[in-house]
């Protein structure tokens, strides 16, 4: 009886020792060296795994940062300048200054401006509706309102407004990861340079049709009348494909073009109210 127990103990001990030796040898032989800085940098990153940097996840971004010779072209839009500066400090490199951006919808075609001419009854996804026909309105460039962008947003920054049928982007929550840009089949979302107090001036239209048909389909469409182009003193406005575009890097927020635009396609946001010039003159005359 006791010999059985003894044999068992000895057998198992020998087996355990041999296994331990094999495991040790294998572990030494196949040891993979991993830069400890990768873990350090990954801890800094926001762990959102949103893909905004262009990599599959934060781990891949951390590996790329450690491997890279310079930070040129690498940026975590979610973490922003502070995270990039911290990562640069750990890795002993310099983080280039990248302007923070924010998502902006280049369409303002709510039902009051852009009447619905047909009714879509298929699967309620923009990408399917877009592949089938020009959409519920006569504008084949504008927002279809089925919310592919809302479903793509992982930061709760984008919600469909049921009254306008358009997505509303919250500037505070938007981290400009670009998920909505990819989700929109009509490329209606642009990542624009963020300005002070979230001020924005942009052409809220993507219609590349000529003026007539564009205006017929939507009252707030850009009709490429060139008025904004002429009034702009800073060469910020370009007109291509019957559509005006304001370069956010050149725009100085002089607020001249929104007044000129005959269709109100140029939108200004988060500005103080304009000084009522005409009334002042009237007062002077009266006074």
């Amino acid at each position: 009886m006791s010999s059985t127990i003894l044999i068992t103990i000895i057998t198992l001990s020998v087996l355990a020792f041999v296994s331990a030796v094999i495991l040790y040898v294998v572990a030494q032989k196949f040891k993979v060296f991993e830069d400890p800085r990768i873990d350090e940098v990954q801890a800094l990153l926001p762990a959102a795994n949103c893909g905004g940097c262009g990599f599959a996840g934060c781990r891949n971004m951390a590996e790329a940062l450690v491997k890279a010779d310079s930070f040129e072209g690498l940026n975590c839009p979610v973490g922003g300048a502070s995270v990039m500066a911290e990562a640069a400090r750990i890795l002993g490199k310099v983080a280039p200054v990248v302007d923070p951006t924010v998502a902006v919808l280049l369409c303002n075609g709510s039902p009051e401006f852009r009447p619905r001419t047909s009714q879509y009854n298929g699967a309620s996804e923009c990408r399917i509706s877009h592949s089938l026909y020009l959409g519920e309105t006569d504008c084949s460039y504008g927002c279809m309102g089925w919310g592919d962008c809302e479903r793509a947003c992982a930061f709760d920054a984008l919600h469909m407004d049921p009254s306008t049928g358009l997505p509303v982007i919250s500037d505070d929550k938007c981290v400009s990861c670009g998920a909505c840009v990819k989700a929109c089949p009509r490329n209606l979302i642009e990542l624009r340079k963020k300005a002070k107090k979230d001020r924005k001036i942009y052409v809220a239209c993507s219609n590349c049709d000529k003026g007539g048909p564009a205006r017929k389909a939507c009252k707030v469409a850009c009709i490429s009348c060139n008025k904004c182009f002429k009034v702009c003193e800073f060469d910020a406005i370009t007109i291509a494909d019957n559509l005006a575009y304001i370069d956010a890097k050149k725009c100085t927020f002089c607020r001249k073009c929104p007044v000129e635009c005959p269709t109100n396609a140029i939108i200004e946001l988060n500005f103080p109210p304009r000084k009522p010039k005409i009334e002042i003159q009237a007062e002077i005359i009266n006074g």
Binding site: T117, A123, R127, S131, L132, Y133, L134, D209
Partner: protein, 444 residues
């Protein structure tokens, strides 16, 4: 035992309301809109300008490249403008607007009613004439016919298959054409046989058209090498590969063409158009369109000039019923709803169906219950439920492995799904994404 394809298929209610109504010639409209892309392939290029006078049958746009077709003016009059217009595909494309003035035909067209059965042209000349006359497949796919008639070297066509199946519900345009223009169609078939240099032609007709089968069988006995084959009624028998399988028993492999099994398929409407082009020198400027719907007061089959707005057709059929929910271009299974009634008739339009509102709305989408009905009805042995999920999640590489590109978009899966899932909507999306992905990969 009647022939049919072995796997899958559905039996939608036939609703062939207009089967007994003879073809009626539509009066000319005041103006026509002729889109420049009425075929698969590169859009044609206009050869007329604003203000030009054109005659009926005059060429107004020439096909550019091999897979393209000429487009002719279907009326005589003045070119009003060349502009973007909404067409039946749901997109805007360039079209020629012509204001109708009289009905003056170009002199080369033989407008006599006699049937000319003697084929004088050689094989090459027939193919050339088909290209010049802008003949495209009139079954709905609008593939330029001259391309199908040109057999590449190394391949041999053994049998010509004529598609008189008309498996889509509601549509009766091919049925009426077979009854009324039987001799012309069979002469057209003999022209096609000569062009392809084949000795054998098989005409497949579904068994729900016994009058057409009897009529064509009687006529075919006077022509050499032609046989008429009644087929068991089953949708989508009119699909090219399914029809080949039903008639010859040979299966066209995935990603290959009918010519790989020695067959070429043409529609009866195309055979008629080929007859007119070759024997009468008349380009493709009109076609039979079935205008039908349960609440339409005067549904019928109309011979319509291309470019006629749908509103004119509906007017001729008794006006737009108040309860119309959808107007469908083509058959109810594969057709597409149009946006408005200004859309013009194009070469590939076989029918216009006005669906009442209560029938036009889709049912509420419910979760998949894994009943596998979609798998059992798929005629190309795919797994639609899986393809839908893969497309929805954007897993296109896996979808490619599951052979999503073999889908011919017949809609059997969506038709049969008890949970009303939009299977085809997603599969179509996945299919186009996979095709795009493969094209990009091949470019690299």
């Amino acid at each position: 035992m009647l022939k049919t394809f072995p796997k899958g298929g559905v039996h939608p209610p036939e609703n062939k309301l207009t089967a007994a109504i003879p073809i009626e010639y539509m009066p000319l409209p005041e103006s026509v809109i002729i889109p420049l892309s009425q075929h698969i392939g590169t859009p044609s290029i206009t050869v007329v300008n604003k203000g030009d006078s054109v005659k009926t049958g005059q060429i107004i746009a020439t096909g550019k490249g091999f897979v393209s077709a000429n487009i002719h003016s279907s009326v005589s009059g003045k070119v009003n403008r060349i502009d973007f217009a909404l067409d039946s595909t749901g997109y805007k494309q360039t079209a020629v607007f012509i204001d109708v003035e009289g009905d003056e035909w170009i002199s080369t067209i033989d407008r006599s009613k006699e049937i000319n059965k003697e084929v004088k042209l050689s094989s090459e000349d027939i193919i050339k004439r088909c290209f010049e006359s802008g003949i495209v497949g009139l079954g709905g796919a609008t593939f330029p016919s001259h391309v199908k008639l040109t057999v590449p070297s190394g391949k041999k066509c053994k049998v010509l298959i004529i598609n008189g199946v008309e498996c889509e519900p509601y549509l009766t345009s091919d049925h009426r054409l077979m009854l009324e223009k039987g001799e012309e169609i069979l002469t057209g078939v003999s022209i096609l046989m000569k062009a392809l240099k084949v000795e054998k032609a098989m005409i497949g007709i579904e068994n729900n058209k016994p009058d057409a089968i009897a009529h064509l069988t009687k006529l075919a006995s006077t022509f050499r090498g032609m046989t008429v084959h009644p087929l068991k009624v089953k949708y989508p028998q009119g699909a090219e590969k399914q029809l080949i399988k039903a008639l010859t028993g040979r299966e066209v492999p995935s990603g290959r063409l009918p010519l790989d099994v020695g067959a070429v398929v043409h529609n009866v409407g195309t055979a008629f158009a080929v007859y007119e082009a070759v024997q009468k020198n008349k380009p493709l400027i009109e076609r039979v369109v079935t205008v039908t719907g349960k609440s339409l007061s005067k549904p019928g089959n109309y011979m319509v000039r291309t470019g006629t707005p749908l509103s004119r057709l509906i007017e001729a059929a008794g006006g737009l019923p108040g309860d119309t929910g959808k107007i469908i271009n083509g058959g109810p299974m594969m057709g597409k709803a149009v946006i408005n009634t200004d859309v013009p008739v194009v070469k590939g339009m076989s029918g216009v169906i006005l669906i009442p509102r209560e029938e036009s709305v889709r049912n509420e989408i419910k979760p998949c219950i894994r009943c596998a009905k979609c798998i059992s009805v798929c005629p190309v042995s795919l797994e639609p439920y899986l393809l839908m999920t893969l497309s929805e999640k954007g897993l296109f590489e896996r979808a490619e492995k599951e052979r999503i590109t073999d889908c011919m978009e017949c809609g059997c899966c969506s038709f049969t799904c008890p949970a009303s899932r939009p299977l085809l909507d997603y599969i179509r999306l996945g299919k186009s994404s996979v095709i795009k992905m493969v094209r990009e990969r091949n470019l690299k």
